[in-house]
Amino acid sequence: MSSSVLERLKNSLLELDMETAVEAANSIVEVDDSEAVKDAVGAVADALQIVGKRFQAGEWFLAELVYAGEIVKSVMSLLSPLLEAGAMESAGTVVVGTVAGDLHDLGKNIFISYARSAGFKIIDLGIDVPTRRFVDAVREHKPLALGMSCLLTTTDMEIGRVIEELKGQNLRDKVKVIIGGAALTKQFAKDAGADAFAPDAVTGTDIIKKWSVS
């Protein structure tokens, strides 16, 4: 695969140019070479690293992070079918959901898009997730981490309930718990017994990356 196509793919993502990114991905797909597709996925991951750094440095804003995620989704929908099973090693499984009583999903979806692009397998439980579903999903999927999102102060007690239930089911020491959302703080995470608080999707993904290599 010509490195110029990979560069074009990476740069178009960094310039938020959907059309060129899709065009570059299509030209890679046409070659029908699984190694080339792997290289392309690597280029996308490299670009996303830079996107994340720009966001954390305050150079890029949430809207740019979201649109970069949309471009990645379009590109990956072309590349993924050509990846051989097991060609890309998963960085680990993460179960994610918005707590019971809370129907907001923007923050959760941004995190999912970003963490998925960083190589994590995501089990998305959706919104308004009752305690039992979180616990059942941890038991079933044996994830590296459980991520809970919560926008509302009126539902923040759900996080403590899930953590208590994990303890009750002897699952707490088998999974890391990370939480995020407008209602939450680092102190809240500590008080509720979570392992980490993510103020944004990029930081959350970075934290889970560290867990995956430790």
């Binding site: 949430l62 649109y67 102060t153």
Partner: protein
């Protein structure tokens, strides 16, 4: 000095007799507890199919009356706690068929958002934004055409709602007319944030059209409030999230800046004041708020690192600052000492020379009236001018 003079003096960046207090009481749960009224168990109503249908019927036929009663109670509760001002809101919700899998009542508001209304575990009403009504330009065009009569009716009700509140409570408290979420939120929330981001890059003319539509509607809403005799009006757009802005400041300026200037000019031409609410970490936009002509900023969310002292240092007395008392912990579970300390710090950081109105940073049903009272008592104790 009476409540009105106190608020308006502070809004002119002069020192009143003491730091004024604004309430953000809106939830029936809070008003009922303050007024000693029986709580309505909304949860039981939702679980009972007969009551469910009654509720739907009442909400469809008597929405203006329900909302008036809600804010009449909110103002009465704010008066009882000795607030100088409290916000008052009129919005319109239209019941729609709920998806089968959902337990709540579904509504569309007049700005193009879909909401699910349900009960929390205490039986209180909770409104959750669940998405935009439209996800394509065609859907949006059809929605705008279809809802035109609803908008006309809404504007008429806005005026009546605020006039009645001002007539019945204006001699005891200053009602601050909140026009609800503004053109930034109404634009992206009517289509969803992912769609909005995509349209900004792929269909910029469509986004401009939506902004123009929302701007005209918002101006009509502001006008209706001012016609009703409201002295201080308020708009709001959540520009920030936990760690920064949702959208690049240059893009906000490009898409919305002229509209915001129009709002300020329009309100000022009628010798009224315009406050603007925003959640989130918005330091990067403070100078723009000044440039757009807003008189003040409401909320200053402490859990998004908004520090009153830092904001004052950045904008000086070009903005009136309103809020900053935490509602995630302090006014829900904090101790009396913690509430007093937070009040003293807020006054120390922002109230010198006027230009600060002490208030909770936001409103939800778990904000504790007793802690609100502690906040008010502390403000009376430590907020006397000269400081």
């Amino acid at each position: 000095m009476d409540f009105k003079e106190r608020i308006l003096t502070a809004m002119n960046h002069e020192e009143p007799d003491r730091v004024p207090l604004m309430g953000l009481i809106a939830e029936p749960a809070t008003s009922n507890r303050i007024l000693g009224k029986q709580q309505v168990d909304f949860g039981s109503m939702l679980r009972n199919s007969e009551l469910w249908n009654d509720l739907k019927g009442i909400m469809s036929s008597s929405w203006p009356e329900l909302l008036y009663a809600n804010f009449a109670d909110a103002l009465e509760a704010a008066i009882k706690l000795c607030f100088d001002a409290n916000w008052a809101i009129y919005t319109r919700m239209q019941m729609v068929e709920a998806p089968k899998s959902r337990p709540g009542l579904f509504c569309h508001d007049m700005w193009g958002r879909a909401w699910e209304m349900r009960a929390d575990e205490h039986g209180n009403v909770v409104m959750n934004y669940v998405g935009g009504v439209c996800s394509t330009e065609e859907e949006w065009n059809a929605w705008a055409e279809r809802t035109k009569p609803l908008h006309d009716e809404h504007i008429k009700n806005v005026s009546e709602h605020h006039r009645k509140l001002a007539d019945n409570y204006g001699d005891r408290i200053l009602p601050i007319g909140y026009a609800g979420t503004g053109i930034f939120e109404n634009t992206w929330q009517s289509m969803g944030f992912e769609n909005f981001c995509r349209f900004v890059y792929q269909k910029p003319d469509f986004v401009k059209k939506v902004v123009a539509f929302q701007t005209d509607l918002y101006l009509r809403h502001l006008n209706a409030m001012m016609e009703s005799g409201i002295e201080v009006v308020m708009g709001g757009d959540d520009f920030g999230h936990k760690t920064g802005l949702l959208v690049r400041p240059e893009l906000i300026e490009k898409l919305f800046g002229d509209s915001y200037r129009r709002f300020s000019e329009y309100v000022h031409r009628q010798n009224k004041k315009l406050l603007w609410h925003s959640c989130g970490k918005i330091y990067a936009l403070l100078n723009k708020l000044v440039e757009w002509g807003f008189d003040g900023l409401v909320t200053l969310e402490p859990t998004a690192d908004m520090e009153l002292g830092e904001v004052r240092e950045q904008v000086g007395h070009k903005l009136v600052l309103v809020g900053n008392l935490d509602v995630s912990y302090l006014l829900v579970r904090g101790t009396k000492e913690e509430v007093e300390d937070a009040v003293r710090k807020a006054i120390k950081d922002a109230a010198r020379g006027g230009g600060y109105i002490l208030a909770q940073s936001h409103s939800h049903s778990l904000v504790d009236p007793m802690r609100l009272k502690w906040m008010i008592d502390a403000a009376h104790k430590y907020g006397k001018y000269p400081l």
